[in-house]
């Protein structure tokens, strides 16, 4: 589905990612882990086309998309839910959902809107409210609802459970698994709650200082004697 080769990227002249190699197969959930500031968000932004790429290749569905603009990638079915600023606060809830369905035609949008509202029924009551009047957790759920509406084959979540109460966080992760199963999506996940994320994902990458230092199945990483302790805060099972 998506293959990244020797990716070097950053912000302007600030080099952040070094020779990153990554692959996500069809219908897989892959987690990227790493300490704060290691470049996880930068990796997702780079795949979406929001940073400066110095070298390397990004292949999506067999097509070289390295140089495409974000909006062109969106139209191909790549989606990315940023860690912060993933909703428009000056727009209403309804308008945010419309933005999420920008690349859909009317009837398809209405179907997906109905589905997203059935998953997050609390949104129905505040469709005309400005998002800036919602709480942090409510905004996070709105951004999940937007993810449900987007027309995507491959979706990248940057810490989707960041501001959520543990119970709702689990719910959101379950939603992500459901997305994979029902909509046949491929998912790349960045998570702080390493343990939970590894439990739902198939494979994982560990990113430190902009380099991939470990790649393997999630189960292996969970049980890895040093890496687990060093970077994940995972207690031995």
């Amino acid at each position: 589905m998506i293959e990244v080769y020797d990716l070097n990227a950053g912000y302007g002249k600030l080099h952040i990612l070094y020779d990153v190699k990554l692959k996500v197969n069809d219908n897989e959930i892959v987690t990227v882990l790493g300490p704060n500031g290691s470049g996880k968000s930068t990796l997702l932004k780079t795949i979406m086309g929001l940073t400066t790429i110095y070298g390397g290749k990004i292949i999506f569905d067999g097509k070289d998309v390295t140089k495409l603009r974000p909006d062109e990638k969106a139209k191909l079915g790549l989606a990315y839910i940023p860690q912060i600023g993933n909703v428009f606060t000056n727009l209403t809830v309804k308008e945010n959902l419309i933005m999420a369905g920008l690349t859909l035609d009317k009837s398809e949008f209405n179907d997906r809107l109905e589905y997203a509202l059935s998953v997050f029924p609390f949104l129905k009551a505040c469709l005309d409210r400005k998002v800036k009047t919602l709480s942090g957790g409510e905004r996070q759920m709105l951004s999940m609802a937007m993810a449900l509406i987007m027309k995507s084959k491959f979706i990248m979540f940057d810490e989707p459970t960041g501001n959520l109460a543990p119970k709702i966080a689990t719910e959101v992760l379950n939603k992500i698994i459901e997305l994979r199963e029902q909509s046949k999506l491929t998912i790349l996940l960045v998570e702080q709650a390493a343990r939970k994320a590894l439990e739902v994902s198939d494979r994982a990458y560990l990113l430190v200082s902009g380099r991939v230092i470990y790649e393997g199945s999630s189960k292996e990483l969970l049980e890895h004697p040093e890496l687990g302790k060093l970077y994940l805060g995972v207690k031995k099972l």
């Binding site: 909006d71 428009f88 606060t89 000056n90 308008e95 419309i98 690349t103």
Partner: protein
């Protein structure tokens, strides 16, 4: 007693200023840079009216659609030819802003050249002209007042409906808040910027094309209007087009009535210092309420909301 002609002056001027200010604010919100060349789009409109009325000897209102098209085209050219090129080479907000100042000087120079070129062809003075005598009258009101008011009401309705009801308008507001998030969701940000530049430049062109039907037109009309456009946008708050509308009307009316009052009191020589009025208002706004009228309204709403909250809590306990 205020003379009727003065009221007409004030209304026509406020109408034209509103068209310019709404466009200036909208491009500022979308492209994030103040466009110093915005007034020159009106300058282009002024000379299109001169060409239509004086050179072609046609109805001056024919200039309105022409001005819209030619100014819109100039807007697209400046945005794509100059600003986007600079951005590609890593231009900062400051260098982009200065480049619009350069564009302002250049367009103004081109208008001067065009005026001199037209002089022998038109057989009329092309550096200062007025076409009031070519305008129509309806129930005692000047045509330009009626036409500009109708155009304005249509424009406001159109913009409001576009920004709140259409996917394109919602995308524009999304770009205003966070252009990279908008692009992730599939908005072609550069295309949206180009269209908004065309739209706002076109509206400025229309304002300019109507101007010589009531006020004197000259190659510097655009740069002279810019002071008032600036003052009106900042008074409006630079954050909403509705604020811009209120700001433009306040500046437009005060500028005309204020100049009249000052001239009555201190003598006619004061009319030469007319721009002092918008500049003074500009200073006061920046010193006392820099977020402008929109900011004042937001503060008021916030205060009301928090009062309501306190009341609810009070009843609850």
């Amino acid at each position: 007693m205020i003379p009727l002609a003065l009221i007409e002056d004030a209304l026509v001027y406020a109408n034209l200023l509103l068209m310019l200010t709404v466009g200036f604010t909208l491009t500022y919100l979308i492209a994030k840079i103040p466009n110093f060349a915005h007034g020159e789009f009106a300058g282009i409109g002024v000379y299109i009216t001169f060409t239509v009325a004086q050179v072609w000897k046609s109805n001056p209102y024919l200039a309105v659609p022409l001005a819209f098209i030619i100014s819109a085209f100039s807007g697209a050219l400046i945005y794509n030819g100059v600003l986007r090129t600079l951005k590609r080479f890593g231009g900062t907000m400051i260098s982009l802003t200065i480049s619009t100042l350069a564009m302002q000087i250049m367009i103004s120079a081109l208008l001067n050249i065009y005026a001199d070129y037209l002089y022998p062809i038109a057989g009329a003075y092309s550096r200062l002209f007025l076409f009031r005598h070519l305008d129509f009258e309806f129930i005692g009101l000047p045509g330009v007042l009626i036409v500009s008011t109708i155009f304005l009401l249509t424009l406001i309705t159109f913009l409001h409906l576009m920004l709140t009801r259409t996917r394109f308008g919602i995308s524009l507001r999304a770009v205003v808040e966070d252009s990279s998030l908008a692009s992730i969701l599939g908005v072609n940000v550069e295309l949206a910027c180009t269209i908004s530049w065309m739209l706002t430049a076109g509206i400025a062109g229309v304002a300019g094309s109507l101007l010589p039907l009531w006020f004197q037109g000259h190659p510097y009309t655009g740069s002279m209007l810019l002071t008032s456009v600036f003052a009106a946008s900042i008074l409006g708050g630079l954050s909403s087009i509705y604020g811009a509308m209120i700001g433009a009307y306040i500046i437009g009316l005060t500028e005309i009535f204020g100049t009249y009052l000052l001239a009555q009191t201190f003598g006619a020589q004061l009319t030469a210092y007319r721009s002092l009025i918008p500049l003074t208002i500009l200073c006061i706004v920046l010193l006392i309420f820099p977020r402008g009228i929109t900011g004042l309204i937001e503060d008021l709403q916030a205060r009301r909301a928090s009062k309501a909250m306190v009341k609810i809590r009070g009843e609850g306990s």
